[in-house]
């Protein structure tokens, strides 16, 4: 994860320095001189905040030590921002190509109506602010070699990972790029459409690229569900002033394309079903901005929070984090989707299971000392039998 850690001499210097700074790390002293000189927690300095379409802003962040700039277009990073003394974490797709030049990270944030962290990032953050960062993650990336024909299906701020891909492709020329790309992007109206001008510009520069921008307030919603559902509010809306527009109307050859889709959960659910019904599940790549905790089934059991002296009975679907919070324990938490590792706590005894993929984490023995515990991410794990968490 850390560039410095990969460099043997630096690693040795660091280990030697730690002998002098113990029990602290050299980073803890270096941050007195420059807040970015730490690899203990990745940090970044906000360089600029540029307002985008209504209620959105593009943040440029200069990362500190330990950042490798080795992300792939389509991946997201975690940003931890301090609000009223407390760190709050959110994940945002990087919108720039992975390039070392410039050494800046760019994300575009939309202020969510209920989301005070995103609201703070859009409206309340000043250039110069130090934020915490979590390294790039995510499988929502273009394959190598590139596929022949591609559809990018997005809505709202779901355009952000796609922008990184398009900009990366735009930068490559000729053979390294994609000849046939269709982008279908929906936004409520022109004021709230992100990157509208840039998308048009890209379409003009690349003859094989087609961009369809839809404004749902006037054009109606692009219907991905197989047919209007009886009694559903969406069916009612579809029968209103605007005619029902389906994917076949906009992209007749969508079945021939590999598709990358990002947007609200309901849209992705519909897309998943549409592609599944067409027998094309393999051709669809989705990005959801929440952890998919259906990858494993835990057994449930009794979780004992050793330091708080509290014990709770939980089922296999309740995360350790949720169980602790319900019991009134001040649990550390971050992104709540398993990326930022803020919620990590020591597992003393027993086992927990990762709900994303079913991996079991088990402590062997009685766990009386520091040598026999493992750190687990409480936001994505649940009890697999009885276990003891040291919080």
């Amino acid at each position: 994860m850390t560039a410095i850690g990969d460099w043997p001499l630096a690693r040795r210097v660091r280990a030697a320095a730690t002998r002098f700074t113990t029990p602290l790390l050299p980073d803890d002293y270096l941050t007195l001189f420059n807040p970015l000189w730490s690899v203990r927690e990745l940090r970044g300095r906000v360089v600029s905040v540029t307002p985008e379409a209504e209620d959105a802003a593009t943040l440029v962040v200069e990362p500190g030590w330990g950042w490798t700039f080795e992300h792939t277009a389509g991946q997201y990073i975690g940003i931890g921002v301090e609000i009223e003394g407390r760190f709050h974490w959110r994940s945002y797709s990087l919108t720039t190509p992975p390039a070392r030049d410039g050494r800046r990270l760019v994300v575009t944030v939309r202020a969510m109506p209920e989301g005070f962290a995103s609201r703070h990032l859009v409206h309340g953050i000043a250039p110069g602010t130090i934020v915490r960062l979590a390294p790039p993650q995510g499988e929502f990336v273009l394959p190598d070699p590139l596929p022949g024909k591609v559809l990018m299906l997005t809505a709202g701020s779901g355009i952000t990972p796609i922008m990184a891909m398009l900009r990366t492709l735009d930068r490559r020329h000729g053979a390294g790029s994609l000849a046939d790309v269709t982008v279908v992007h929906s936004a409520p109206d022109a004021e709230r459409a992100l990157f509208a001008d840039e998308l048009e510009l890209l379409a003009r520069r690349h003859p094989g690229w087609r961009v369809v921008q839809r404004h749902t307030a006037t054009d109606g919603r692009l219907e991905l569900a197989p047919g209007p559902r009886e009694g559903s509010p969406r069916a009612d809306r579809a029968t209103g002033s605007s005619p029902r527009v389906g994917l076949d109307d906009v992209v007749p050859d969508w079945r021939e394309r590999r598709t990358w889709a990002c947007g609200p959960a309901a849209m992705l659910d519909d897309a998943e079903k549409l592609w599944a019904d067409a027998g094309l599940t393999e051709a669809l790549h989705l990005e959801r901005f929440s952890a998919d905790l259906s990858g494993g089934e835990a057994e449930g059991g009794t979780i004992t929070f050793a330091r708080s002296g509290k014990t709770v009975e939980v089922d296999g679907a309740t995360t350790v984090l949720a169980a602790g919070e319900d019991a009134g324990i001040p649990m550390p938490f971050g992104c709540r989707m398993g990326i930022c590792h803020t919620c990590v706590a020591p597992l003393r005894t027993g086992a927990v299971r990762d709900l994303r993929d079913g991996t079991e984490h088990r402590v062997a023995g009685e766990g009386a000392t520091d040598s026999s515990h493992i750190a687990v991410q409480t936001c994505v794990t649940a009890a697999a039998g009885d276990c003891v968490i040291d919080l």
Binding site: R19, P23, F333
Partner: protein, 391 residues
């Protein structure tokens, strides 16, 4: 006999104790709801100051053969260690700052600058001492297994050496703290309860000692080259300053006159109101200015700290105002005095109890049997209120 029924001892009714508990709960809720930016800035500024003092002390010792620099270095380092161990380490490990959601200032990750491993401290102090406060046979802080601090502890000829043990404990305080979580009582009986655990904990202490002593007594002296010896002695002085000071502060917490001890039967069916009452009656404060309180880890507010061990220490002064008001309302003692006076009281008790002092024991027992003296011997606040209503 120590106190075995705190409600009876305090001459309160069960309803009074319940109401008292609710008032303390309300203080907790109010403080928790108002934690914010100013609190976070408080602990960060203390941490910054502490690290700067540490650097300044280390730098000063590059001139350690020059007496004023030797003294400045020792003093700066001593103060840095005091701040780190008390206002920062002790309080961070209590979880006072966990609400900030910052892994760098969190009870799960903090390791303090002395030879005691944080993990063992959190067990012996946060769990045993703060749960079973002043309960004979449960709280190892009642005399630290080597001192007789209440006549409820049976006199043994070995107690004659108490003034000497006490002085040694003062001089070597960090080492005393380091072995605090070990089963020393079992070791003396030659019947250690869990030899494997004992060994593992001892190894952990050994590791921490090697790191700490290596830093202070080998590496930093070597770094100053020809001034090895003078730097070494200055570092020893710094550790000694911290040892003596933290010993003195901590002995003022539960040993002065007025801090009560309890029997295990008090723990049976103890209500949360009674738990608060035990913390209140078992602890003693001392008075002082803001600097004095910061330098003593806010333990001059020992009562408030025991009532709310995980609320931020910078809030103890305002909590103290509300606690004293509650004490007045319920006619409960609030034990406090100047630091020298409180320290003298605890030392006097330790010297007295070196002898099988029958008169002193009789006095203590009479006090415990009689309960708290009240101006209005038999009326309790609720009875008073009832009388007022009746009138």
């Amino acid at each position: 006999m120590a106190i075995s029924d705190i409600t009876e001892f305090a001459h309160l009714t069960e309803a009074d104790v319940e109401a008292l508990g609710e008032e303390f709960d309300q203080i907790r809720r109010d403080v928790e709801a108002s934690r914010g930016e100013a609190d976070a800035e408080y602990i960060r500024s203390i941490i910054r100051t502490q690290r700067r003092l540490n650097i300044a002390g280390r730098v000063a010792l590059f001139g350690s053969p020059i007496p004023p620099l030797w003294m400045a270095g020792a003093a700066l380092l001593g103060v840095a260690k005091i701040l780190e161990n008390m206002e920062i380490g002790h309080n961070v490990m209590h979880g006072q700052w966990d609400w900030m959601n910052d892994p760098e200032i969190h009870s799960a990750t903090w390791e303090w600058d002395n030879v005691c491993p944080a993990e063992q401290w959190k067990h012996s102090h946060n769990y045993l001492h703060h749960t079973y406060t002043n309960v004979l046979g449960k709280d190892k802080d009642v005399g630290y297994e080597i001192l007789r601090v209440t006549s409820d502890q049976k006199w043994n000829p070995v107690n004659l050496g108490q003034p000497v043990f006490n002085t040694l404990l003062m001089l070597l305080f960090q080492h005393g703290v380091a072995i605090h979580d070990l089963d020393i009582e079992g070791l003396l009986r030659r019947d250690i309860e869990d030899p494997e655990e004992f060994k593992a904990k001892l190894e952990q202490v050994g590791r921490k000692m090697r790191h700490q002593m290596g830093k202070d007594y080998i590496l930093f002296p070597l770094l100053t080259g020809p001034f090895f010896l003078t730097t070494l002695t200055a570092n020893m002085a710094a550790n000694l300053i911290r040892n003596v000071w933290s010993y003195a502060i901590i002995f003022c917490g539960h040993f002065p006159d007025g801090a009560e001890v309890f029997t295990e039967s008090q723990l049976e069916d103890e209500t949360s109101g009674e738990w608060y009452l035990r913390q209140l009656l078992g602890s003693a404060n001392f008075t002082g200015g803001r600097l004095m309180h910061v330098m003593s880890g806010s333990l001059g507010y020992q009562i408030e700290h025991h009532l709310f061990p995980d609320l931020p220490s910078n809030r103890y002064p305002e909590i103290a105002e509300r606690v004293t008001a509650i004490c007045e309302k319920y006619d409960l003692p609030y034990t406090t005095g100047s630091f020298p006076k409180q320290f003298w009281k605890s030392i006097r008790t330790i010297w007295r109890l070196a002898l099988p002092n029958k008169k002193f024991a009789a006095e203590q027992q009479a006090h415990e049997a009689e309960g708290l003296r009240r101006e209005n011997a038999t009326t309790t606040p609720s009875a008073e209120a009832a009388a007022r209503v009746a009138a």
